[in-house]
């Protein structure tokens, strides 16, 4: 089985936010939640880079480790998913996540966050694949259709790569060798405890 990963080639990202829009539309993400976002660091300086970031589907995911009701599970493709039926909205995954991925539909106080929502790698949830209830709770299940996440598929500069970690790392390596530079696979060291050796 593949080990699914995201890789954002920051030297290609033009901050067009098409990934953000594609994700919201494909998954009918609720108001106020952005499963994917583009962050520009060192804005206005020569070292400025934009990085598209979402849930990185960590190896040994912190969200899953701290969840008091164990609502997370990892699929055979190493995608980290969760059950909204089991989630109690305690906020612990949000405390633990290094990428700010878990979000809640309500911004109320007094423990009224609602069920956590995050990027599913377009792999739905624990409901029956491609069922209406799965779409309603978790959004699209493109993996079950044999497709990759729409954010990466839509990327106009092919900056955002999604797929088998070994393959996208190879693609990135070839790019770096060919063009002679690369600012690295952001998030990999934190999420996977390894980076793309160039």
């Amino acid at each position: 089985m593949a080990r699914m990963k995201f890789l954002c080639d920051a030297d290609r990202c033009i901050e067009c936010n098409a990934c953000v829009t594609a994700c919201k539309n494909e998954n009918e993400v609720p108001w106020g939640i952005n499963r994917r976002r583009v962050v520009t660091i060192n804005d206005g300086k020569p070292s400025e880079r934009s990085i598209s970031m979402a849930c990185m589907h960590c190896t040994d995911a912190p969200c899953a480790a701290v969840c008091p009701v164990d609502c997370f599970y990892t699929t055979a493709d190493a995608v980290v998913l969760h059950s909204k039926d089991l989630c109690i909205g305690c906020g612990y995954c949000f405390y633990a996540c290094p990428f700010g991925a878990p979000q809640y539909p309500k911004v109320g106080n007094f423990g009224s966050r609602g069920k956590m929502d995050k990027c599913t790698f377009c792999a739905g949830g624990p409901e029956v694949d491609l069922s209406p209830v799965e779409f309603q709770k978790y959004g699209s299940n493109r993996l079950a259709e044999g497709k990759l996440p729409l954010c990466a598929e839509m990327c106009s500069t092919k900056s955002l790569l999604a797929g088998d970690g070994a393959i996208i790392a190879q693609i990135y390596k070839e790019r770096v060798v060919k063009r002679g530079y690369g600012s690295g696979a952001w998030g990999w060291q934190t999420a996977y405890k390894e980076t793309v050796a160039i």
């Binding site: 009701v69 906020g91 405390y95 002679g180 690369g182």
Partner: protein, 335 residues
């Protein structure tokens, strides 16, 4: 000869072209656009010694919280929550239970040395008992629902299954959120009503030195509250205040000011809670099976005169001088 000269010229020209072509990538690297772009490892290295740093950027969506690209502190909080927190909780809660069980087996129930006098002193009036049991009842529910957050998935989840465990945890969460308020009220009332009898003094040191009537033989003199009870009082007041403040921020996350603060308040809440649970286990033990006659103080509010003389000799003398003794034949009017 002219032909070979032409060939030589052509070859030289081609070689020069190749040389220029090879030189181009070298000059392109001189304007490497990524030379000073930050890499993840640089960011992580820069964090050493400053674990609360976040990598902030600019974002074009309205949610400015999303401008944080990475916050590795989450990993440290996870280490705490799944490591230190569990160890501290297991050692303090189970350790206390083991110590109490061992103590009971060795020392047994501490009896009243002189039998009951048949006359009583009013130790706690109805209002004092109300505020004690309000706080105590809330504390037990808060402690169980709190321990469920840390230990439920190990202890309860395998027994009842995922959906039932979630249902229990949801009810526990609401109970925790709502019973926090009467708990805070109870702690505040106990502070106001009992603080005057709980100011530490030199007598408490002598009480501790003599083993407090638990470890040594006999009971050292004590006023209304002995040294041990003062420790319980101040632990409840200060621990309750710490739990109230930290719990308030966890319950109203938008006043806490960011995830890092929520992590901090969660650490405070967790550690203070388990220490409080351990302390209250000891308190419950002494107030119930551990010591004969002690429960009456919070049960009926009336304690036997001989118990009072043994445990709170100075307080009993004061009450006797005031003539606050109830029951018994000597107080009945002669007829």
């Amino acid at each position: 000869m002219r032909f070979s000269a032409k060939i030589r010229l052509l070859v030289t020209g081609l070689l020069l072209t190749f040389a220029v072509a090879l030189a181009v990538p070298a000059s392109a690297q001189q304007v490497n656009p990524t030379a000073d772009a930050m890499r993840e490892q640089q960011f992580l290295d820069a964090l050493k010694g400053n674990s609360s740093a976040e990598l902030q950027g600019r974002i074009t969506i309205p949610d400015q919280k999303a401008a944080t690209l990475q916050r590795p502190a989450g990993r440290e909080w996870r280490e705490f929550h799944q490591g230190t927190m569990l160890r501290v909780a297991v050692i303090s809660v189970l350790g206390t239970l083991l110590v109490l069980a061992a103590f009971y087996l060795i020392r047994g129930r501490i009896p009243m040395e002189t039998g009951p006098a048949g006359r009583t002193l009013t130790r706690f009036n109805a209002f004092e008992r109300f505020m004690h049991w309000l706080t105590a009842g809330c504390f037990i529910v808060l402690a169980l629902s709190g321990l469920n957050v840390t230990f439920g998935k190990m202890a309860l989840l395998p027994l009842v299954g995922p959906q039932a465990f979630t249902n229990i945890s949801v009810v526990a969460k609401w109970a925790h959120n709502f019973l926090a308020w009467p708990f805070m009220l109870g702690v505040a009332m106990m502070f106001v009503v009992w603080v005057k009898d709980n100011i530490p003094d030199a007598l408490d040191l002598r009480w501790f030195a003599a083993g407090g009537g638990i470890i040594g033989k006999g009971h050292p003199p004590a006023k209304r509250f002995n040294g041990g009870q003062k420790v319980v009082f101040w632990s409840v007041v200060l621990g309750g205040a710490a739990l109230s403040v930290s719990g308030f921020y966890l319950l109203f996350p938008f006043y806490a000011g960011g995830v890092l603060n929520l992590q901090f308040w969660n650490v405070v809440h967790g550690l203070v809670s388990v220490v409080m649970v351990a302390l209250m286990l000891g308190h419950i033990y002494i107030g119930s099976v551990g010591m004969e006659g002690a429960f009456d103080a919070m049960g009926s509010g009336e304690v036997d005169l001989n118990w009072a003389k043994a445990h709170h000799s100075l307080w009993a003398e004061d009450e006797l001088q005031k003539g606050q003794v109830n029951g018994g034949p000597r107080l009945q009017p002669a007829e």
